[in-house]
């Protein structure tokens, strides 16, 4: 049959194609040693993620962040932004079916003006959480989904940092006055306009969360965004550097007037996150987290 040659060519092509399959067998999760000492010459990875208690894929994202934290230790920081539809308290938000008839379920409200400021800057952020930013490395106003976080985090923490970063908070538990000093020393030449925004986050809050099939009334919310301490209600922060850096020189910023920690926040579970970012590209150059 004269068509046999065509069919055999196709068959050979098919055999080649079928070899283009990677079958992955258990264990599928890669085991990486945890913790590790922070290398001061490297960049710190910062995830800023949108989440919400009625966002069904968000518990999985929280687990990913927890895993990343255990792997990368001090080189990794997370901020969870509760904003918009999925973070609305119930009511007015419809109560998940799994909590029907439970008074007070899903009543917690972690939204804050600074979170709204994040959403205004990245409008697609709150539309379908969990999604977020890794060092704000993405083109313009785009956010990325949780599966793309680990790869980016891994590449960021292996890059050399342009500058070191040190955050020194002072907190007076009697007056609840909070101040801080943030500074760094240039390790590479860098050109651009930089702001530093220092975010207040709180961990350990217990509340309701659903994954779509079930409701958990004892879910622990970690690193929840509360406020931008140096520019409350806005993620803008304060200018700290402009122009081209000279290696070995220092940049710094000190909060001019103390911020009063609201009584609703538990200081022992609060953290400060300093974000040094380029005001043109939004890219986070370096970041650091300290407990109060």
């Amino acid at each position: 049959m004269k068509n046999a040659k065509y069919i055999s060519v196709a068959a050979v092509a098919a055999v080649f194609l079928f070899s283009m399959c990677d079958y992955v067998t258990a264990p599928r999760d890669v085991v990486i040693g945890g913790g590790g000492n922070f290398d001061t010459t490297k960049r710190v990875a910062l995830i800023e993620e949108w989440t919400g208690h009625t966002c069904i894929a968000c518990p999985a994202a929280a687990r990913d962040i927890h895993t990343l934290d255990s792997i990368y230790g001090e080189s990794f920081i997370a901020i969870s932004i509760h904003d918009d539809y999925f973070a609305e308290p119930c009511p007015p938000h419809p109560l998940p079916n799994c909590a029907t008839g439970v008074p007070g379920a899903f009543a917690e409200d972690f939204r804050c003006p600074t979170g709204a400021s994040y959403s205004a800057t990245w409008p697609s952020g709150p539309s379908s959480p969990p999604q977020g930013l890794v060092n704000r490395l993405h083109p313009s106003d785009q956010v990325i989904t949780r599966g793309a976080w680990p790869g980016l985090v891994d590449s960021v923490v292996n890059e050399l940092a342009a500058t070191s970063i040190h955050l020194e908070p002072t907190y007076n538990s009697a007056t609840r006055a909070l101040t801080f000093n943030v500074w760094g020393v240039w390790m590479q030449a860098y050109t651009g306009d930089l702001n530093v925004a220092v975010m207040l986050t709180e961990s350990g809050m217990v509340g309701w969360q659903t994954d779509g099939t079930s409701c958990d009334s004892q879910f622990v919310f970690e690193h929840v965004l509360r406020e931008c301490v140096n520019t409350p209600g806005s993620i803008t922060g304060s200018p700290v550097f402009s122009g081209t850096s000279t290696i070995g020189t220092r940049w710094s910023y000190t909060l001019p007037t103390a911020y009063t920690l609201p009584v609703a926040f538990d200081a022992s579970h609060c953290h400060l996150v300093a974000i040094l970012y380029n005001t043109t590209t939004q890219e986070v150059i370096q970041a650091w987290e300290e407990d109060l």
């Binding site: 068509n3 065509y6 069919i7 196709a10 092509a13 098919a14 194609l17 079928f18 283009m20 399959c21 990677d22 079958y23 992955v24 258990a26 264990p27 599928r28 999760d29 890669v30 990486i32 009625t54 069904i56 894929a57 999985a60 990913d64 895993t67 990343l68 792997i71 119930c90 938000h93 419809p94 109560l95 998940p96 079916n97 409008p123 697609s124 379908s128 999604q131 083109p139 313009s140 106003d141 785009q142 990325i144 989904t145 949780r146 599966g147 793309a148 680990p150 790869g151 980016l152 985090v153 891994d154 590449s155 659903t210 779509g212």
Partner: protein, 547 residues
């Protein structure tokens, strides 16, 4: 530099001119194209939830140009989003020429470089297509080869990257498809056979680098399908079965379970009667060229919904989209035409169509023990999970007189809002809808169409009523006015009239339509994913032209 830029087109013109003059078969080139420009002015309207738009007015548009010369074809599409209109993906930014291709068909071997659209079989493994009205476009940028030299044998191959807005998806897509028409291939030996046998199969592999430090991701993910089509003069049987190897993605929550898809349909059609039944089972069969993509981007395959595609607005209020993670669904449709002169047919005949469709989730058990948890879940092959969608409807078309005809449609629909829209806390929404679409020919120069609709959705927004009157005047002009009124909303302040008016003028292949009014928020679906379009209030303009 500028001089060079000017010289290039001049030189090209010269080359083209020379080619046309000297090379036989290249002398009859033609350029044709089409354009569409849409713009809308947005008034913020908090009552209907229409957001304030900082630009006040937004516009999308595109123009296609295709150059054909014998067996050669080349084309481009220029697109603008300044800025992108509400409801379209915000990733459409600015302007560009994201689509360009050149094709030459040389004696049964057709090669395309650049952008291409294509589908393998019914598309359950590979389909590159566009729907400009919905902002969907996953054209493949690369190469495509089609081999059709042997009658009854068609082989296609594709290799490229998928378009995602103005960039491309990180994965590389490679695929091959073959289709054999046994009757044509075997020629005269099959002449006496009234039954046509068509067999096909395809394989598609996606490569995406694994940069995930937490999970061991397969970099090359393969998917394939086999299909068979048996056609008799009145009967058509089609079946396609697909398989996909481990492919942890955002969509399936990063599980390693292989995916399967089965799609079967049977039709019987004879003068005046048409019957179609179809069924489908999808299990973890989302296939994308970017494992971390969400929404409508980087989708490689097409999983059609087995439901009636409604054209009337309130019947189409709750559209269904295939759930790629898992679904069992089926559909049956019977169409019958009562002949002229019979009791039900009347003087001009009556068409009746019954349609029934239903979709369920899979009956599955989550796997939690250490060894199997990465596979996610186990499927009970013959079980049914939660109801996702059901639609039972009847449509009648009747011509009463030369100047009066009408369509009547009514149905009952059930909609699982939680699953389809990714919401929580809603019961299954049950709606009843009824439509009267009547056309009155007033005289030689005027035709009036009225479209009266009602829908009742107790569990959602209550009752809706709609009235539309459209007057076509002469050969070039129409005006229409419409009101959709959510009169049964539980919240009295949400009992809103969505009124708008449109006027259109068309001549030749040009059309200009202007409108003003309010449009309700709605869901528009394509492929396996639905998109939400927010409510708006304002002035709209749409211009289309082709040549």
């Amino acid at each position: 530099m500028k001089k060079i830029l000017i010289l290039i087109p001049v030189a090209l013109t010269g080359i083209v001119g020379a080619l046309q003059a000297q090379i036989p078969g290249l002398g009859n080139g033609q350029i044709h194209g089409n354009f569409q420009i849409d713009a809308q002015y947005y008034n913020p309207d908090s009552a209907i939830g229409a957001p304030a738009v900082p630009e006040k007015a937004l516009s999308n548009g595109f123009g296609n140009l295709i150059y054909t010369n014998g067996k050669f074809m080349a084309g481009i599409r220029y697109e603008h989003y300044l800025n992108v209109m509400q409801g379209f993906p915000v990733e459409y930014k600015g302007t560009g020429i994201p689509y360009r291709f050149a094709t030459y068909n040389n004696d049964g071997l057709e090669i395309t470089v650049g952008s291409s659209y294509d589908q393998f079989g019914s598309g359950i493994v590979y389909r590159a297509f566009e729907d400009r009205g919905l902002g969907y476009d996953n054209a493949l940028d690369g190469a495509r080869v089609r081999f059709t030299k042997v009658k009854g044998l068609a082989i296609k191959g594709v290799w490229g990257k998928q378009r995602t807005f103005f960039t491309s998806s990180p994965g590389i897509v490679r695929g091959i498809d073959g289709e054999i028409n046994l009757n044509e291939l075997l020629g005269h030996k099959m002449d006496s056979c009234k039954t046509t046998f068509i067999l096909g199969g395809n394989f598609v592999s996606r490569y995406q680098i694994d940069q995930n430090p937490l999970l061991d991701m397969p970099q090359n993910v393969g998917a394939w399908s086999a299909r068979m089509n048996i056609i008799r003069p009145k009967l058509n049987l089609f079946g396609e079965w697909g398989y996909k190897i481990n492919d942890p993605t955002l969509g399936n929550n990063y599980i390693y379970k292989p995916g399967t898809a089965l799609f079967v349909s049977a039709t019987y059609a004879t003068k005046g009667l048409g019957i179609m039944v179809a069924a489908k089972q999808i299990d973890n069969f989302g296939f994308r060229s970017d494992r971390d993509a969400a929404g409508n981007t980087a989708i490689i395959n097409y999983l059609p919904a087995l439901t009636k595609q409604h054209t009337y607005q309130l019947a189409a209020y709750y559209p269904y989209a295939t759930q790629p993670n898992g679904e069992i669904s089926w559909q049956a449709e019977i169409g019958y035409k009562f002949k002229k002169g019979t009791a039900l047919g009347g003087k001009y005949g009556t068409s009746l169509t019954l349609n029934y469709s239903q979709a369920h989730g899979l009956d599955s058990t989550e796997l939690h023990d250490e060894a199997t948890t990465a596979l996610g879940y186990e499927t009970n092959l013959f079980g049914l999970g939660a109801l996702y969608f059901q639609d039972v409807n009847i449509e009648v078309f009747k011509k009463f007189s030369p100047n009066f005809k009408g369509t009547f449609l009514t149905g009952v629909l059930q909609y699982n809002k939680n699953v389809i829209e990714g919401k929580i806390g809603y019961p299954i929404i049950m709606t009843h809808y009824i439509v009267f679409d009547l056309i009155f020919k007033l005289n030689d120069k005027m035709t009036l169409r009225t479209d009266l609709e009602h829908m009742y959705a107790k569990e959602d927004f209550g009752s809706w009523g709609m009235g539309l009157a459209e007057l076509t005047i002469g050969e070039h002009f129409f005006v229409a006015a419409m009101d959709q009124y959510n009169y049964g909303n539980k919240h009295e302040d949400l009992r809103i009239h969505y009124m708008n008016a449109q006027a259109g003028y068309y001549w030749g292949t040009n059309r200009i339509v202007v409108g003003y009014g309010k449009q309700r928020a709605g869901i528009f679906c394509v492929g396996g994913v639905c998109r939400f379009v927010p409510a708006s209030n304002g002035f709209t303009l749409s211009i289309t032209s082709s040549f």
